[in-house]
Symmetry: C2
Subunit: 474 residues, 2 copies
Amino acid sequence: MREHTPERDPEFSKASPEALLRELRAILAPDSLITDEELLRPYECDGLSAYRRLPLAVALPEDEAQVVAILAACHRAGVPIVPRGAGTGLSGGAAGIEGALTISFTRMNRILEIDHGNLTVSVQPGVVNADLKAAVAAEGLFYAPDPASYESCTIGGNLATNAGGLCCVKYGVTRDAVLDLEIVTAAGKIVRLGGKNVKDVAGYGLMPLIVGSQGTLALITEATLRLRAAPAPRTTLLAFFPTVDAAGDAVAAMTAGGLVPVTLELMDQFTVRAVDDVHHLGLDRDAAAMLLVESDLPGPAGLAEMEAAEAACQAAGASMVLRAADPVEADWLRQGRRLAYRALEAIGAARMEDIGVPRSRIPEMLRAIGDVAAAHNVTIGTFGHAGDGNLHPTFVVGPGEPEAVALERITAAKAALYEAVLALGGTVTAEHGIGASRQAWLLRQRGEDAVAMMRAIKRALDPDNLLNPGRVLG
Amino acid sequence: MREHTPERDPEFSKASPEALLRELRAILAPDSLITDEELLRPYECDGLSAYRRLPLAVALPEDEAQVVAILAACHRAGVPIVPRGAGTGLSGGAAGIEGALTISFTRMNRILEIDHGNLTVSVQPGVVNADLKAAVAAEGLFYAPDPASYESCTIGGNLATNAGGLCCVKYGVTRDAVLDLEIVTAAGKIVRLGGKNVKDVAGYGLMPLIVGSQGTLALITEATLRLRAAPAPRTTLLAFFPTVDAAGDAVAAMTAGGLVPVTLELMDQFTVRAVDDVHHLGLDRDAAAMLLVESDLPGPAGLAEMEAAEAACQAAGASMVLRAADPVEADWLRQGRRLAYRALEAIGAARMEDIGVPRSRIPEMLRAIGDVAAAHNVTIGTFGHAGDGNLHPTFVVGPGEPEAVALERITAAKAALYEAVLALGGTVTAEHGIGASRQAWLLRQRGEDAVAMMRAIKRALDPDNLLNPGRVLG
């Protein structure tokens, strides 16, 4: 389903790439520069496969000094850079750019320090989210942000996209977890932006600006992140509803009631059935929607939270509410939700959206998704982080459908979906990012004046347009 | 204690001020432009009285259209603008600038909407923090950020300084509470930066950049802030310690133990005695330091939190631990802490600092403060938000001391204090801001390359240096 193939920018190859590659070979270890076309293939695209271009080469630096040297060499050669973590992103932000060098940070994957006194962890950008979680959990600590791809995505990518996940409703997004960044600027300077201070107002907030800028303003070479004491084991509740409206009402009631469960996830009937087909969890296949609600409060507080959540579900008209009997069953149910996208992919080509709306508008948004699917004759499976107002309506193309016809319908349906989102005061991307794929909608959502401010900042910090050019701002 | 009087910039008066004032009179209501010298006096300085200059005039706009028109007129006249809330800031950020127009937002003080479904409140910038808190509390909701000056400071000023306060340890700073801003750019454009979406990654994080920029990047004309369900009534504990080290150890142990009390405040002996002199609370005047710890968790969870805090205090060697018998007594004790600075001012001229250190370094920082006081023969009373690592060592000059001599000693002691802070990985300002007063230290703390990035952003967003020139970046 390719829908966009950026044109090669003649600026990007003004110097001989061979001269640059020679320089890079001198900087990097022998196996740390990939130029062979077959080995470059995995770097063509990220998790959004519609955007794919073979980069000039891929560098895998092992330390910051190499990053600085690579940047200087690219600067001299006029060759732009695409920074990349695990390539699990879903906005095309880490897709290759023809004539550009992709820098993969996967070999800078050391956990540098776990600081119990300050509840922080300092890492290189290539550390995998799950490895970080496991390392701190082994010491009784907890790193909250958990994108669905946490078993493979890296912290550097999480920072670049300001990644969300399943427990943002309680613990916030990646930006909220950052205390310090070490970056390399477009000019090749190593700059430290924060520290271990939980409050610090010395100068402008550069750190929250760099987080989420998808590698277009600086390269992140180190991060210090907030930890928490490990919370209590989760208690888990599943609620099934006869209509999506009823599920949406339950979510809205929990928000308005001030409940802050650690997880508040939704799956619609199509997704429930897809998950159940693959994982045989015994879900209620006749329900129109399902909510997964979890508490990580200890003892009676956790029980009270679950009671309140159950009451909200019942009041909204739940047809069935069950609680996981034990942590193993809870893990199993949660895993079902995590695998929702893969279950939809098992049906056919799946294309996930990433909309967000104010939480009170979830019932309206769910109705709008149904209306869009009907009007455009497309299949949409919807799941997502209902507690944040973040839904992932996913267009699913059955194996028998001709791709060209499906793509045309999906393109029209997507535009209608985004219009509905904006009409409800929502966002076209709650956690995946603008990347290469939603730039026209960025302009629609934020307006020309806000985008002009972003462009002015981009020019100020990367005047030669060296860092991930054409991403976020186009 | 004047230590800095910025020179008049000849650029600021290139046009006739009379022409500008005529334009402003046409824009504003008759009583909304102050030009009389006596009436301008209160606008000379903010809460940091060392920085004072009479502005050209003060405009008190009543709506956003007036703000836009004022900005356009100032732009044409080449006259810079100082935005101002209640003037309670402590960095000279809202002090007058000779030849510049101060815009006071105090008449734009409407609460526009309290949204129960999304737990948000939308306000104009001139709303007083306490009025906002009271309005939402009346509807069972809670706005967390509470600077010590909350009874007079405005939300606009809170946003401009990224203000902290007494419950950041649990609920974060002002930046963490912001979901949407409407701003007027230096170019006079009205731009909306967010929405009611709790997750939103469409484009760069302009909002967290504007928050804390002290009016140097844009004027804030509206904000939407996060609310929470009203927490349980607080339970309150006071602990007294025989040494400041022991109190510091108790704080470090609570942090490392993962406790997140809603308040974790410290006062040293000098401050305890000053507060007790004024307020007669019956505090232990022989203790070297006191901690105030509060929980707003309901029922048994709150009790468990207080038990854990008390255990940490006892283990660190507390000489006495007491719990407030009831909410009235708790309010009374908390008020004592809030009035610490005023109690120190009652002794003589007081000059509050605003340092922050990683929380594990609090015992070292408290020792360093003692060392600085001894080495420089100055009196320092220390209190602050120990749970955040944010302390307010306050230089106190007794009524008998000659001011010039005291100022010289304090200037040297302050430099030694800041050096100690930076040696511990701290910040020279945790919640008050760089403003007009700490610019040389911003450079020391962040380094030239980080400050160069800030300057590039300033130039990009305010190319004519119209907005609060010379503040933050100098």
